[in-house]
């Protein structure tokens, strides 16, 4: 009988310790989980597939040669478009990046093309899409046209120059 009572005392003390140690951990520490998320987006890139070509023409007393984004060529003034052996087309760029993102297109104001010391100016750049593009499935073709200003009796020659087209995510 004495032994039993001692065992019960021990049990009671053990129970007391569990209460002391266990209670603060269970009732006073509370934890909540949260999600952390981040989206790494594919960098946007642009590469040239085709140059802007105004083709061949005779200047006469001057005017302009216009290439539309569709690659159609037209003229103003007295410029006479020459078709024999002439290739004209809009510039074409491949824009790649993250699917279904939109991007802003920045065209140059003007560009100069030269042949020896002679120059002509390309202006009124246009693009399709214009202003804002959309990377459906992560890619889009960007077409760029422009207007070439031809002076009266512009010196004959093969004129070349370069310009930059920029794209950036909106």
């Amino acid at each position: 009988m004495k032994k039993l009572s001692i065992n019960l005392v021990v049990l009671s003390i053990v129970a007391g310790f569990i209460a002391v140690v266990g209670a603060p951990l269970q009732s006073q520490a509370a934890t909540a989980a949260a999600n952390a998320t981040a989206t790494v987006v594919t960098p946007i890139a642009i590469s040239k597939n085709a140059d802007l070509a105004f083709g061949k023409f005779v200047a006469n007393t001057g005017g302009t040669v216009v290439i539309s984004t569709a690659g159609a060529r037209s003229q103003t003034g007295t410029v006479a478009l020459f078709t024999q052996g002439s290739t004209s087309n809009a510039a074409s760029f491949a824009v790649t990046g993250e699917g279904v993102y939109t991007y802003a297109i920045t065209l140059p104001a003007t560009a100069t093309i030269t042949s020896s010391a002679n120059t002509m100016t390309v202006g009124t750049f246009v693009s399709n899409p214009s202003g804002t593009g959309t990377l459906t499935a992560g890619a889009q073709t960007l077409l760029v046209g422009g207007t070439l200003t031809v002076a009266s009796a512009q010196a004959a020659g093969s004129y070349t120059g370069s310009y930059n087209v920029s794209v950036d995510y909106n």
Partner: protein
């Protein structure tokens, strides 16, 4: 004698938990931590969401708009004006992943002091948590996610 000690033990059992109840009893999450969208460039960088929910960056990154940036938000509840201690994750212990790729979170920050009192007559307090996502150079594009724990007692 036997009855006496058993009763004493039971009294101990009931008294101790109730006397130690004065503290934080629960923490509930209100919103997740969102770094939103960015481009990783050819050098490493980091994206920081402050505890106030403001996003900034350093290094080879470009932050993009069009996503939702939020600090994580929690409400802890306890007895009136009880003391509290908030435990944030340690540095480099939380990763978020996309496929087999990971970003590591460091420098967790909190909108309130990590120890304090709920305030006179108050039984709850809402706080927000920010962190820094370390982004390796040319990090693989994707939607990264993971979880982390915040504890209050």
């Amino acid at each position: 004698m036997t009855r006496c000690t058993t009763v004493a033990g039971l009294v101990l059992l009931f008294l101790l938990p109730s006397s130690s109840w004065a503290g934080i009893s629960s923490v509930a999450k209100n919103s997740n931590l969102q770094f939103a969208k960015f481009v990783s460039l050819s050098s490493s960088g980091s994206v920081i969401v402050s505890a106030a929910g403001a996003r900034s960056f350093s290094g080879g990154l470009v932050l993009l708009n069009g996503g939702t940036v939020t600090a994580a938000s929690y409400t802890m509840t306890g007895s009136g004006n009880s003391n509290y201690t908030i435990i944030l994750p340690a540095n480099n212990t939380v990763v978020i992943s996309s496929g087999g790729h990971t970003l590591t979170l460091t420098n967790f920050t909190c909108s309130v002091p990590l120890t304090g009192k709920l305030g006179s007559g108050k039984t709850s307090m809402t706080f927000t948590v920010g962190a820094t996502a370390t982004v390796t150079a040319n990090a693989t594009p994707g939607a990264y996610s993971g979880t982390f724990n915040v504890t209050a007692n």
